[in-house]
């Protein structure tokens, strides 16, 4: 019976109505509609919470209509709502009415990644003092291996979606429409304490951090480029609180 109940909730199908105690079909529908409304509105609200920047970019009305179409075909499989919406960015990419915003799907994917990262496990990180003492305690710091959380991700984006993300969360100091979106960016997505953090980094820094994630020693991790400043980059990693241990 729950198969037809479920179908009735996600479609206009009326076959379930005869299970409902009511004097006529109109009343059956009004009663069932409370549940239809609960399911759709709660899931649209959940998608609004998960994708706030995507919503801002297209406007509330457009987003809610798009989210409704998505959820009716792609309801959650897990009772943990923060895990919902994994396929939403792919849906947005193929959603014709949204194609005038070519970076919209990338923004949705970024929001999903950041939320998943926030809900991932935490790692203890080293403060400035602990990093310094690791460096002075060895003869050749070049042989040190610097570790960052294994959940860290580096993205190369053809659009400035990192700037967009930061503008959204900057308490209104910057406006989304002031961001020059047609600019490529390298993004570092990393868990620091309780939340995922997004940092816009240089290409050379991206290569360096990739090398650290591949467990290369400090000297092997330094990219072959005159534009890379090791001291400055290490200072950033310490400031961002993302070095978990040094060996």
């Amino acid at each position: 019976m729950n198969t037809s109940f479920k179908t009735a909730l996600l479609t206009e199908d009326t076959r379930f109505y005869n299970e409902i105690k009511a004097p006529n079909m109109q009343e059956q529908e009004v009663r069932l509609n409370v549940y239809r409304n609960n399911v759709v509105v709660s899931l649209v609200d959940a998608l609004c919470d998960i994708f706030p920047i995507t919503e801002t970019l297209v406007g509330e009305e457009f987003f809610r209509a798009m989210a409704r179409i998505y959820l009716l075909d792609n309801p959650p499989s897990s009772p943990i709502i923060s895990e919902y919406g994994v396929g939403f960015s792919d849906f947005v990419r193929n959603f014709d009415p949204a194609k005038s915003i070519p970076f919209l799907a990338d923004v949705a994917a970024l929001e999903q990644t950041m939320l998943t990262l926030t809900h991932s496990e935490e790692y203890d990180t080293l403060d400035h003092e602990a990093v310094s003492s690791a460096f002075v305690s060895v003869e050749d710091p070049g042989k040190l291996q610097l570790n960052i959380p294994p959940t860290t991700q580096i993205l190369a984006s053809p659009f400035a979606i990192g700037s967009l993300y930061q503008a959204h969360f900057s308490d209104g100091h910057q406006r989304l429409n002031k961001v020059d979106i047609h600019k490529s960016e390298y993004l570092l997505l990393v868990k620091s304490h309780l939340y995922a953090q997004l940092h816009i980094i240089q290409k050379e820094e991206a290569i360096f951090i990739k090398h650290l994630m591949q467990k290369k020693s400090l000297e092997d991790a330094v990219p072959d480029s005159g534009l890379f400043d090791l001291g400055e980059t290490l200072a950033k990693l310490i400031e961002w609180n993302i070095l978990t241990h040094i060996e």
């Binding site: 105690k21 009343e27 959650p76 009772p79 709502i81 496990e121």
Partner: protein, 308 residues
């Protein structure tokens, strides 16, 4: 009581210095829903609240702020865990992977109470994010009892099951909601969470008398009471009350609550709020209102701690 349960020993919170004072506090002072917007204020002001209730499904991540703040708040307050995703009324077996995660949270949190709903929410790998009604027939009763047995065995404690708010009744139901709940509690040994707002909402929607419903409710099994607000859908076909949890407790529910306490005796009470969140002080004021009503109630001969 089922054979499975008779072999089980239900353990309550470990006997630490905290646990006995927490148990007393939970029993004597009313609590409120724990919401992220209140985390900082709770830790900085440590308000006089009996306990905080969490939705299990919001605290199952490996990391992130929710779990972190729960651990901090847990050090100062009793916690109750309220599950919304086990789909006890579902037609398929309980999702074991999800049950394991919930059981781990219960084990880590050692709540005063772990409760769930007489409802379903998952079917064929789809989670519908709502508490959907079940038909009151023997087949459903048997399935619900199997699921409750399985959950109680896994979490190694008694759970409380909440009476639902519903918007339609099933043509195929063979018994009343009260008869179903009474039998469910008898067969599984589960306790009951009496949601007084749900009584008001369901009775209004089905043309039943809420006071009569309470007179027939198996109050001896009640271990906790929920109070919440509802809204009204004034459509011209059939006016309905909607269990929205986004308004203060309504005057009719306060009256029902007073009547309920006369039947149950003093009972741990939660002010449940999920949407349209007011400043925390407003919820605490509602909890204090519940406390004032509770103070005027004579304790029953059997103290409540022997029930839960």
């Amino acid at each position: 009581m089922s054979p499975v349960l008779s072999e089980l020993t239900f353990t309550q919170a470990e006997d630490t210095p905290h646990s006995s004072s927490f148990a007393k506090r939970f029993r004597s002072r009313s609590g409120i829903s724990l919401k992220p917007a209140y985390y900082q204020l709770i830790l900085s002001e440590l308000p006089d609240v009996g306990f905080f209730e969490i939705h299990a499904e919001n605290y199952l991540s490996k990391g992130g702020p929710a779990r972190h703040y729960l651990q901090l708040i847990r050090q100062h307050y009793p916690i109750t865990v309220h599950g919304v995703g086990l789909s006890i009324g579902g037609e398929h077996p309980i999702n074991n992977q999800h049950l394991d995660r919930v059981a781990q949270l219960v084990d880590e949190t050692q709540p005063e109470v772990f409760s769930e709903h007489l409802a379903w929410s998952s079917h064929d790998n789809t989670f519908l994010n709502d508490l959907l009604p079940v038909a009151y027939d023997e087949a459903t009763l048997r399935r619900v009892c199997e699921h409750i047995d399985q959950i109680q065995s896994r979490v190694k404690r008694q759970i409380l099951i909440e009476n639902p708010s519903t918007y339609f009744e099933f043509n195929r139901s063979e018994m009343s909601e009260i008869a179903f709940i009474t039998e469910m509690s008898k067969r599984t040994g589960c306790g009951l969470l009496l949601d007084v707002n749900n009584v008001e909402v369901s009775c209004f929607n089905h043309g039943h008398d809420a006071y009569q419903y309470l007179n027939n409710f198996p109050v001896a099994a009640v271990g906790q009471i929920h109070l919440a607000g509802h809204t009204t859908d004034d459509n011209s076909t059939v006016p309905l009350k909607i269990d929205s949890h986004d308004e203060p407790v309504s005057p009719d529910v306060w009256s029902l609550y007073q009547y309920t306490l006369a039947l149950t005796g003093d009972c741990p009470t939660l002010i449940e709020r999920d949407g349209n969140l007011p400043p925390m002080a407003a919820l605490i004021e509602e909890a204090n209102m519940a406390n004032r009503i509770r103070e005027s109630i004579q304790p029953l001969e059997i103290p409540r701690e022997h029930v839960i």
